[in-house]
Amino acid sequence: MIKQEMCEVISQQQIASHIYKLTLKGELVHGMNEPGQFVHLKVSQGMDPLLRRPISIAEIDHENSSFTMIYRADGKGTSMLAEKSEGDSIDVLGPLGSGFPLNAVKKGETALLVGGGIGVPPLYELSKQLVKKGVNVIHVLGFQAREMVFYEEEFSMLGETHIATADGSYGTHGFVTDVISHNGIKFDCLYTCGPTPMLKALEKAYQHKKVYLSLEERMGCGIGACFACVCHTGDDPTGHSYKKVCSDGPVFKAGEVVL
């Protein structure tokens, strides 16, 4: 059930270069069940900026009716978001979209979670839920550089965790795909979120495997009404069939849509 609610800021802190962790309290948390869903935030009350910003849900705490997001303060909207502090309230629309299917792996099987940069956050809630289910999790997380790395410890507590940086300033030098093959990582199901080139590489490398990808697209409404965020489907790559990233996704099975 999608709700719109003024949520209260419980805490906000900077956890890496330009990266912030924001926890909000609100009743709409009780509608959040699937990891990988997102919320659509209005960062100011006026019209500057005008549109909402889509941000993934990184952690859900039903008990305290709170949820956490991790985001990069870059443009106008996210920079304004970074200025919010305890007690402020933020207009949240959500939860939106459909997330990572937990039932794609069984208890005792192994799930590989691969995140790139600001695609890492939704994997955290996913990992927690998989672990709870008894799934063995391995994380491979890629970042630009050392100062952008976040949540290594948190992920490590849930399972094996590898870090790669593009400039080699931390962890393995190179891409997440290198890490996976170098370490000969085996898995039953792969869940991933990050930049499109990374998703493409993973989709191609593991065609024979169960792979779920979370996509990003510019959005208008965020709820499926405006057709801003569509992509072609894998079985009709140049035709009229389509999926909406905001409501059919953001998570798709590999091959379901054209990246």
Partner: protein, 313 residues
């Protein structure tokens, strides 16, 4: 509390507020948020003869107090709109205004003819003004004679009143309005989006894949108000106004300019409950302004010259 029901050709509306075409899909998504029968009407997404995928993404970009879109008229095509979308909408007690698009006269006529027969379609909105399709289209919205002819042909086949949606991207909007009036239009809807562009400072390229897009939102409201103020004094067709409406006050500004109903587009993305919220606030505001019925507001800015007595206390 003042009354806000409105009667227009083909449309007996419990209130003058309706989502604008393209900003509400076919209503399915918003029906999860509120009861669609609260709305005065729904202007559904543009329908073309064949299904259209539309433009590549990115299709939207934010601008100062506005946004650009270049969806490219994505829709499942006439047949599925009638058999699936309009059929589904029948469960909701709300009149539908069907937005009709095409790239040739034949397309328009075929869509208009078929869709106007649908049980819940009370009026057509002839979309001669979409800035986001490369082929043909542009002449329909910018050359008076062409617009007039198209209107006439569509009127001939339509079972319901025809509203023509005007483009603001013209030198002389009154000329266009008069032309479609002569073509037999029953009403006008205005305005569609202004053609605009944003370029990404980091990439050096247009943000939108289609390069240009249609500018909507509060940024364009002064242009819409001006055009409605001008057109409403020169033609006798009722006008459904749109462009940047976000509040009940905006609705009144449109009525004062000369509109008889108002559509809400972009604001649905900012606040999905904007339409029901405006509908809730409108009767009290109309009363506060000293009118018994909202229709008394239509054209107030040019019909009367003395200021209203009302001033907020």
């Amino acid at each position: 509390m003042s009354s806000i029901n409105i009667s227009l050709p083909g449309l007996n509306l419990k209130n003058p507020i309706m989502p604008a075409s393209g900003c509400f899909g076919f209503g399915r998504e918003f029906s999860q948020l509120y009861d669609l029968s609260e709305l005065g009407a729904i202007m559904i997404k543009a329908t073309t003869l064949s299904p259209r995928f539309g433009n590549p993404t990115p299709r939207v970009a934010e601008t100062s107090a506005g946004m650009l879109n270049a969806i490219g008229l994505q829709n499942p095509g006439l047949e599925r709109v009638i058999n699936e979308e309009l059929k589904w909408l029948e469960q909701h007690n709300v009149p539908i205004i069907a937005n009709v698009a095409g790239s040739t006269e034949e397309d328009y006529v075929a869509v208009a003819k078929a869709i106007s027969k649908a049980r819940n379609v009370h009026a057509l909105e002839l979309n001669i003004s979409c800035p986001n399709v490369k082929t043909g289209g542009i002449a329909f919205g910018t050359i008076p004679e062409v617009a007039k002819d198209l209107t006439k042909k569509v009127k001939d086949v339509s079972q319901v009143p025809v509203y023509v949606k005007l483009s603001p991207n013209v030198t002389n909007i009154v000329e266009m309005a008069k032309a479609v009036e002569q073509g037999g239009a029953d009403g006008l809807t205005m305005i569609n989006t202004l053609v605009g562009m944003r370029i990404d400072i980091k990439t050096g390229l247009p943000v939108i894949a289609n390069k240009t897009g249609g500018l909507s939102g509060p940024a364009i409201k002064p242009v819409a108000i001006r055009m409605i103020h001008e057109v409403s004094q020169q033609v006798s067709l009722p006008i459904i106004g749109m462009g940047g409406v976000q509040t009940a006050e905006d609705v009144i500004e449109y009525f004062y300019a000369g509109a008889s109903a108002v559509a809400v587009g972009t604001a649905n993305f900012v606040d999905p409950f904007v339409c029901p919220n405006i509908i809730k606030e409108l009767p009290a505001l109309v009363e506060q302004l000293g009118f018994d019925h909202i229709s008394e507001c239509t054209g107030r800015s040019w019909k009367k010259n003395e200021p209203l007595a009302y001033h907020r206390a």
